[in-house]
Symmetry: C2
Subunit: 218 residues, 2 copies
Amino acid sequence: MAHRKLDREQIIEQALKTLGKSNSFSDFSLRKVATDLQVDVSTLYWHFKNKQEILQAMAEAIIAQVKLPNQQLEWTVQLKQLFSNIFDIYEQYPLAAILMVETIPSSLVRLQLIDRTIAIMTNAGVDEQTAHIAATSIDFLLTGLVIDLMIENRFRQQITTQQDQNLAGHVKKIRELAQTHHLEHMQASIKMRNQFSAKQQFEKGLDLIIDGLKQHTH
Amino acid sequence: MAHRKLDREQIIEQALKTLGKSNSFSDFSLRKVATDLQVDVSTLYWHFKNKQEILQAMAEAIIAQVKLPNQQLEWTVQLKQLFSNIFDIYEQYPLAAILMVETIPSSLVRLQLIDRTIAIMTNAGVDEQTAHIAATSIDFLLTGLVIDLMIENRFRQQITTQQDQNLAGHVKKIRELAQTHHLEHMQASIKMRNQFSAKQQFEKGLDLIIDGLKQHTH
DNA sequence: ACCTGAACACCGTTCAAGT
DNA sequence: ACCTGAACACCGTTCAAGT
């Protein structure tokens, strides 16, 4: 293709689409993005310094979509709404959570988001230190659950479509070990995972942390 | 080298050492493990099916080192001791946390660990559902913090040893953005990260979740 | 049974060369 | 200013061949 077509925005847009098509994060490559753009890989290196910079821009584009809750609302409602929004976006871009882990939160949008999260708590009377660790905890819980969810879905796909005996073996093994070694709580956990959606589990975890926070408010 | 030397145990032992020498998880490769073992890469494929299986065995070897707390102790003490032990092991093998994320917990040792964690809570009167989500939350908080810690250390190293302007730029940018956009809580967070160790932060997060759990016990 | 060597299909990154 | 093509140094994985 001739020149004078591409800009950074178009590259990031396609990169997010290409990431969406990928089965895993290691499946995602700049060469595939370039192919989808009908362009040589090396072209990307004129617009971006390296892969890390592209991932950074992708993460930024995703976080920019997060809608902040109304500040008039009660603080627990604000927290729940905010992270519910983030959860929904992560579900839309299933690999976005990994993107956040792989990337440094040095963009303004991401810093503002962290700042706002802490502000919600301190405005409710929580001390700065507790608010900081609570924000971190909620963030890790969210990304952890989404990554888990994604891995599970990938496995489910691989097992059904490609009949991957290896992965099917793992799932079977977990159930069997739980039974033969009488890991009763493990068995209950497996049931729970099937009974509640990842979002419901996240909400319960968030509630738990909020319960803890309430003891630090006054 | 001639044959009749290697076994799975030796490979995993060296793999953990090679992982320890790696600056990042993507830096770690089977080819490097093979070189350290003075053996051809393809040799590893006689002992293991693929890379995933090797990672799985590595994760298992690490978790096997976790010491379980005395069951006579009070439940909050048991929880704190258990996760303090896990934290210390993760600090010893800085990339172990990523290993856990990349890997399915289908080994007996890991399942037993999860089961035991939940058991500590249910024995204290916490319902099965809350105990399950709390165990998950604590686990994600721990791995999240350790991964963060590791990334930070890697950056610090790269900045000082290789004068990586790119990474130094990120750190500087965060401070600057926090100042110019008056992200006061963000500034306080940066201070706190320097003031408290990752372990101390984890302990505070754990305390928060325990505070939440106490409301579910009776 | 255990290991090697070569090959394959992938990566990210660089750089001289084109328009 | 923007893009290509070829090259480089890496990957994981397979497989015929050696001992």
